[in-house]
Symmetry: C2
Amino acid sequence: MIEKVSVGLLGLGTVGSGVVRMIEANQEELQHKVGCPVHVEKILVKSLDKARQVEVDESLLTTNAEEIVDNPNIDVVIEVIGGIDLAKSYILKALSNKKHVVTANKDLMALHGHELLAAANENGCDIYYEASVAGGIPILRGLVDGLASDRITKMMGIVNGTTNFILTKMSKGEGAYDDVLKEAQELGFAEADPTSDVEGLDAARKMVILGTLGFSMPLTLEDVSVKGISQVDLEDIEYSKQLGYTIKLIGIAQRDNGRVELSVQPTLLPNSHPLAAVNDEYNAVYVYGEAVGETMFYGPGAGQLPTATSVVSDLVAVVRNMRLGVNGKTIVSPQFERELKADEEIQAKYFLRFYVKDEAGAFTKISSLFAEHNISLEQLIQQPVKDKDMAEVVMVTHNASKKDYNQVYNRLRDLDVVFEVKSHYRVEGE
Amino acid sequence: MIEKVSVGLLGLGTVGSGVVRMIEANQEELQHKVGCPVHVEKILVKSLDKARQVEVDESLLTTNAEEIVDNPNIDVVIEVIGGIDLAKSYILKALSNKKHVVTANKDLMALHGHELLAAANENGCDIYYEASVAGGIPILRGLVDGLASDRITKMMGIVNGTTNFILTKMSKGEGAYDDVLKEAQELGFAEADPTSDVEGLDAARKMVILGTLGFSMPLTLEDVSVKGISQVDLEDIEYSKQLGYTIKLIGIAQRDNGRVELSVQPTLLPNSHPLAAVNDEYNAVYVYGEAVGETMFYGPGAGQLPTATSVVSDLVAVVRNMRLGVNGKTIVSPQFERELKADEEIQAKYFLRFYVKDEAGAFTKISSLFAEHNISLEQLIQQPVKDKDMAEVVMVTHNASKKDYNQVYNRLRDLDVVFEVKSHYRVEGE
């Protein structure tokens, strides 16, 4: 039986510092849970003489990754440097040296997860990555263990804290997109270059990881249809409120008859839906299972200690496996072939806002267009635009296939009585 | 390596039928997840010729429990008969015969969990009981694995669907307590004798299980201070709304400096609190961890298939352990001694509603009483009662110790200017 466990840490930034802090502060509880001491043996840093967020013995620091990934004394490598290429090569090296791996790297897992899992499997090693999706929320465990017996049919996630912060502020009337984004940047909830967050790419990566696990299918980033929040304006939010909805950036992973849709887009949810009440920088994943029905996992999506909680809980799992001698035996490879839905198979309701000429027959042209594609309307607001010869129309459709909807949307934009289609969003959760 | 797993089922009621259905319907996925077939070998029923909720081969049925707990072909016993004494003796017998156990029995786990866990440990067997708390929500796994690295300081749970259904209906103005309870009984959300649910006992049992796991401390049912919802009236709900609160039956498990409080009572939560939006028969457990901050697990608290999901997910865990040869090695005995908070250490805010004489100086007497015990007031509504010489007072205090509060409450009832203290509740979540 293993008597102590040595950890090598790649990275001592925000999350890495949190990991060091938690391993120290909770050492007694950790030992009780895993049955032996766990200590940090070596830490990879960029520079030896930088100010640190946590006090560490200088002798632990190194700028040479080989001192960790090739170090025979190290049992588990925790990767929190982020990025793709270096992180990947370190992890592959560590696995080939029979070290178990814990990573918080969503970009890496979304892009190269299948390869890394295969490498872990070949080497009889564990690789855990709970922190890669929704920070402190133990959602991957929820899917893999908690709902192990169920067939998951749909997941809807608020999996990006930055965009949820921005949309929450906009909803509360605290400013338009640009102002609120600036505030988020000042508070550290958004990066200097916010593209990856606000354009939905970050959320897309998390949905790939969730979909792959939840549906047991090797999905890729190219499978996700992505639309960000930078076009959402206050009028959209106001009209949504009037109609009883809240706009959120929602990642959707849906499976019907073995075929899957993955998407990320601003989405209207009924105010009574539990996801509609997930505010500020919080994350949540709503899971529909055939048997369990609807469950939700809610919590902090980022932050030093929440993310470190997931990383160290993964470490606990790895050490328990070491003590039991069962590492590498819990990886289950995807069961199903990758099968994606065609646009005809993707059903949803849509919200549209557009300007039309204020003339006789204009609305007939529009309603005929929708009728022609068998899309019926559930809610409608039409009102004149002050001092202009036009009206603003807001509508919510009944369910339509994405194929039909896209045709209507394109034809609507070309109609002579339509000035501009200002915005259109998916509607979910009803 | 084990090539197939045989299950003995104790009980074929609602949950038992769901378990049979799920094992059959999801057999292919189950096999993929555990690596071998899993089948039901024998089922204990009360009577052989009763109508069933699920089709089963008659040869599987028996009225003799020994054919399951003493059956050498059976590897795992699933107990879903409920009740205490028989269930306990069957489980102990199964464990002594080296059979692993999955149970959905909250009453049994709350009363005899420590003894059953010890027996499992002695026999090198697993005992899993996810379904005993909050039906389909994988909350026990969330505590034990997902937040394994964190120090949990507080849990607040809506862990009884019946009372949440009743309070939700009352909140929506759909009737007073008695009417709504009757409706719940007709819909099957409440038992013919609803005492255990409405008086908080059911919730108390679940809080014992949550507290024991979350705080790693052997807590007992006697440690829970319990108050039910049968005294909640529509006026309380109306005033709570005016003040920005929602009334829920909340189980609280709180730890400070190694000392614990367990309680269940109607509690006012700010409308913005995620638990306030948990409606109808849904359950949710809000968990505060030192590192992770606030997380919430939401889902169905009961029902055939949600509960069966938890039971069969437990079965998956047991079978994985069997395949890996690590059964009985994952039970961690409580780390800390049982230490309960004294009333002086329990801090909370309180809501009070009472009638006072409409005379000069009445309010001064009342406010001096609170001041004397250092309890200050946060919100106050006083209004005359029509056609009577009295006023109705509603107040929310700032934080006070339970000891101080109880003294004030008792003295308030005896004040000559007070006619009646109509209701008083704890206020949490701020």
